[in-house]
């Protein structure tokens, strides 16, 4: 009689291996566990990547999710943390060549979820003083995309009448903020992206401003700063 740890390790292995058939997994009732676990992983991934699900369709998503699970089985009990490598997994698949934006759309689904689940910052200053530092709000997520993935993503968040989408095939910059309790997604420009990048490590306002102004001399940096603070993307420390 194997001890408990062995039994559990065997059980876990057999859950993931569809082809295993031994004294344990050969039992008829074992399929109940196997199927329930697979379903849990597939549906958790679907819930985390709703836009990818819409793009490829339910049936295909299920199969892609099963393939993903074989490579990246769940590592913990928190389902929202499952699927963190899905975007890079998609980018590696040969078939995504025909859907080149798919991996970036997956990335955006992930950023939305991270923004949604982030904790509130401890304290937010409301006023600026000399020597103030600015930092990203914990729920702020942003990305530079080499595809019009944000336009595609946004079109799916309001899919009514999505008959045809003909986006401009160029880079895009995306920002997710969480004013209050709901996530807001917006398309931003390169100078705004640069400003957010300058705030990844908390920095004095003057430093942030000069970093953006040096790279984008024609940008209205004060307007950008104001927008970033007003939207809650950055906070004053």
């Amino acid at each position: 009689m194997p001890d408990l740890a062995d039994f559990q390790a065997n059980f876990a292995r057999a859950i993931l291996d569809d082809d295993s058939f031994d004294r344990l997994s050969g039992q008829k009732a074992f399929a109940v566990y196997r199927n329930t676990c697979a379903r849990g992983a597939v549906e958790a991934l679907r819930a985390a990547y709703p836009t990818v699900d819409m793009l490829v369709g339910e049936e295909m998503f299920t199969q892609v999710a099963l393939d993903y699970r074989r490579e990246h089985p769940p590592r913990g009990p928190v389902l929202s943390e499952y699927g963190g490598e899905f975007a890079t997994f998609l980018a590696r698949q040969s078939w995504t060549g025909e859907l080149p934006y798919l991996a970036d759309v997956a990335r955006l689904d992930r950023l939305w979820l991270e923004s949604f689940l982030a904790s509130e910052p401890a304290g937010i200053e409301r006023s600026y003083s000399r020597g103030s530092r600015v930092a990203l709000h914990p729920a702020t997520r942003f990305a530079w995309l080499a595809m019009p993935a944000m336009s595609i993503w946004q079109a799916h968040r309001n899919p009514h009448g999505l008959v045809e989408l003909d986006p401009v095939w160029a880079d895009e910059w995306a920002l997710f903020t969480r004013p209050g309790l709901s996530v807001r997604a917006e398309l931003i420009d390169a100078p705004y992206y640069r400003l957010l990048l300058a705030c990844v490590a908390p920095a004095p306002v003057a430093e942030v401003v000069s970093a953006v102004a040096a790279e984008f001399p024609r940008a209205d940096v004060s307007e950008l700063l104001h927008r970033a603070v007003a939207s809650g993307a950055i906070i004053i420390q």
Binding site: I124, R126, L181
Partner: protein
């Protein structure tokens, strides 16, 4: 840093100081519970909805098989430089 940049920095800081006192993110609404991830994606129990039951008789078999990917979603509505999303089967 050149002179133009210096001017831009000073202007930006002045404008920022003038506006930021009133600016700020919206306050979280009190008494609004946030839906955390576990319940958001919490579909792993045996009462997961139609098609499953505690007897384990899922209508859908989630076992992997030699399946070919066929995209049937909205990707067909999106124009790329190479044309529309494909509907052709692809080897997994």
């Amino acid at each position: 840093m050149n002179k133009l940049t210096n001017i831009a920095v000073v202007t930006a800081l002045t404008a920022f100081a003038a506006t930021s006192a009133t600016a700020g993110p919206a306050k979280p609404q009190p008494n609004a519970d946030k839906c955390y991830g576990v319940s958001l994606a919490g579909k792993n129990d045996c009462a997961a909805g139609p098609g499953t039951s505690c007897a384990g008789t899922s209508k859908r078999n989630y076992a992997g098989n030699a399946w070919k990917y066929v995209a049937k979603g909205t990707c067909t509505a999106i124009k790329t430089p190479k044309g529309h999303g494909s509907l052709t089967p692809k080897a997994a």
